[in-house]
């Protein structure tokens, strides 16, 4: 089963749409069991473990986040946050067993009267599996990771 460049581009758009539509459970299913979601703290950071990151989430932690969002005693989600992604057309950097893409984004998150804006690019590493394309790694590079942020509660 081979995938075309268009399939990959559609996949990246669909991934963001799941987040914007609050289908977090379906979104989680897009990750492989060893999948990772990484948001570095420093611009250009390459070290994953021996320095602080904003997020470095394996499937267990992503599952916790998703479950928490709908928890009855998740007070920071009363009322709930909403998010919105605007993506530039994904660039395909590598096409093979492993697929690598880079996608510029404008991300907005809002709750009550507050709204903030994050900008940067996401680097996806994808793998073809029996159940379709899956995310092995999503790295979210903000242009201002070191800024004094407010709560970032959903997923960029």
């Amino acid at each position: 089963m081979s995938v075309s460049e268009n399939d990959i581009i559609d996949f990246i758009y669909a991934e963001a749409a799941l987040l914007d539509e609050h289908k977090f459970g379906d979104w989680l299913e897009l990750f492989t069991d060893d999948g990772v979601y990484w948001m570095p703290l420093e611009f250009g950071q390459t070290e994953e473990h021996l320095t602080t990151s904003l997020m470095y989430e394996d499937k267990l932690l992503l599952t916790v986040r998703v479950e928490r969002l709908s928890g009855e005693r998740t007070f920071s989600q009363r009322p709930k946050s909403r998010c919105h992604h605007i993506l530039q057309r994904p660039q395909i950097l590598e096409m093979g067993e492993i697929i690598k893409t880079k996608t510029a984004f404008h991300y907005t998150e809002t709750r009550l009267d507050e709204q903030f804006f994050l900008v940067g690019w996401a680097e996806h590493v994808l793998r073809q599996t029996d159940t379709g394309l899956k995310i092995v790694r999503k790295q979210v590079n903000l242009i201002n990771p070191e800024s004094a942020h407010r709560n970032i509660q959903l997923f960029v």
């Binding site: 473990h49 602080t52 267990l60 932690l61 928890g71 920071s76 942020h149």
Partner: protein, 440 residues
């Protein structure tokens, strides 16, 4: 500005504290002129400025300062303004200035101890009375700076308690963090997490020793980890590092009660006297033998067994020796605080420690942390809820006893005694009004 009467703000023993302590901008302004001038405030760590000319920028209260390593190798703390027009001499979070600071506006230059070096085309100041001006003296310098085993503290006011008198026994928590390095040395790693809260800085300080909130406010985060872990594991399943870090947050009231709280004079204190949420981390191969080699078996065991939870240093700093993190609650306004969360490497210890520390920092302290989301929600709801006129008091009476403070004392672990200790000192320093500027 109306007169601030401290007796109206803090009840005896700080059993209750008036909401204006958190809401009132006039109170905030007085804090900046008293609490943050008269006490030893944490500025940074000397590993942030390893070479001559290396600097970091930060603030003591709302006073912008530069911490710099001078040509004689000492750490200097200078007010970050050019004596000419007030321009900040540097504004990068950190960097190197070489042998001197040069103002980008008119090229006035200063040595790294703040003393004047040069002014271009200086003859224009002849016969102007410039020699007696403030500008002539160079950069304002904080006179009282202490480098305590790498931790840099500064006191803006000329007069006050000595460093040793101010901190007394509380320095044992910083000592323990340093002693956990087989080489007795720490290094700051990476930039801090920076997290903006729309609440008063003291709400964050209070929360550091609030042992009755984790199992409630963090049910959504730590509770969810516990639930998911229990569904897939039994008692013998080895816990991943992240599970090991988060599960203890859901400990019972009884567990927190037993762990105890220790207080010292001048508003310092810590949770976790006999046990803490950091006590049961897995051993790391190679560490214990390195510690025995460095300290001998008895002393090494003593250092490792001391697993204090949060040590609050008055007014606005907290360290966790057992996981090597430091948090600074930086006041911006009565309702605005930036929290910086820093991590340290134990020099000479296996990398697993740094990995654990970095993980703890992002899981618990980041603006992307679900634990942080729980806490911020509570602080900001309090900042709003305190606008209620019907009850102006914040209650801190849990386990309150008269005469509970004085010297070094140990209290029940769910006591709000460390919060009271903080406000008793806060009221004392708020009363020490001194309008003079700092340094030269």
């Amino acid at each position: 500005m109306s007169e601030i009467n401290l007796d109206d703000l803090v009840k005896p023993g700080a059993s209750e504290v008036h909401r204006d302590v958190f809401l009132c901008q006039d109170v905030f302004a007085q804090e900046m002129k008293t609490v943050f001038r008269n006490t030893w405030v944490y500025v940074g760590h000397d590993s942030q400025a390893p070479n001559k000319g290396d600097f970091t920028t930060t603030a003591i209260g709302t006073q912008p300062v530069i911490m710099v390593r001078h040509t004689d190798n000492t750490i200097q703390v200078l007010l970050n303004r050019c004596p000419h027009k007030g321009v900040q001499l540097v504004n990068d979070p950190s960097g190197s200035t070489g042998r001197f600071f040069r103002c980008p506006y008119h090229a006035w230059s200063f040595k790294t101890d703040g003393s004047p070096l040069g002014i271009p085309f200086k003859k224009g100041y002849e016969d102007t009375g410039f020699d007696t001006s403030c500008a002539k003296k160079g950069m304002c310098k904080v006179a009282n700076v202490k480098n305590y085993r790498g931790f840099i503290f500064a006191r803006l006011s000329e007069e006050g308690e000595s460093f040793e008198d101010f901190f007394s026994g509380s320095l044992s928590s910083i000592d323990n963090m340093i002693d956990r390095s087989p080489e007795g040395r720490l290094e700051i790693v990476g930039p801090p997490l920076r997290y903006l809260h729309h609440c008063n800085w003291k709400m964050l300080v209070d929360n550091q020793t609030d042992t009755c909130h984790p199992m409630i406010a963090h049910e959504s985060s730590a509770g969810t980890v516990t639930k998911i872990w229990n569904a897939v594991a039994n008692e013998d399943t080895p816990k991943p590092m992240v599970v090991e870090l988060v599960l203890p947050f859901m400990s019972s009231y009884e567990t927190f009660e037993k762990m105890g709280i220790r207080t010292w004079d001048h508003g310092h204190g810590h949770t976790g006297v006999s046990w803490s949420i950091h006590s049961e981390y897995s051993d790391v191969e190679g560490y214990f033998s390195a510690m025995i080699e460095a300290y001998g078996k008895e002393r090494a065991e003593e250092i490792i067994a001391e697993t204090r939870h949060n040590t609050c240093y008055f007014p606005n700093m907290m360290v966790k020796g057992a996981i090597q993190t430091l948090r600074l609650f930086k006041p911006i306004a009565a309702d605005k605080t930036i929290v910086e969360s820093w991590i340290f490497k134990l020099v000479g210890a296996p990398d697993t420690f740094l990995k654990r520390t970095a993980m703890y920092n992002r899981i618990i302290n980041a603006p992307t942390s679900i634990v942080g989301h729980d806490d911020l929600e509570m602080y900001e709801r309090a900042q709003e809820g305190l606008k209620t006129d019907a009850n102006p008091w914040v209650n801190m009476q849990r386990h309150y006893r008269e005469d509970e403070l004085g010297g070094e004392r140990v209290h029940p672990g769910t006591s709000e005694v460390q919060m009271r200790n903080h406000y008793v000192s806060w009221a004392k320093y708020m009363g020490q009004i001194n309008e003079k500027g700092a340094g030269s």
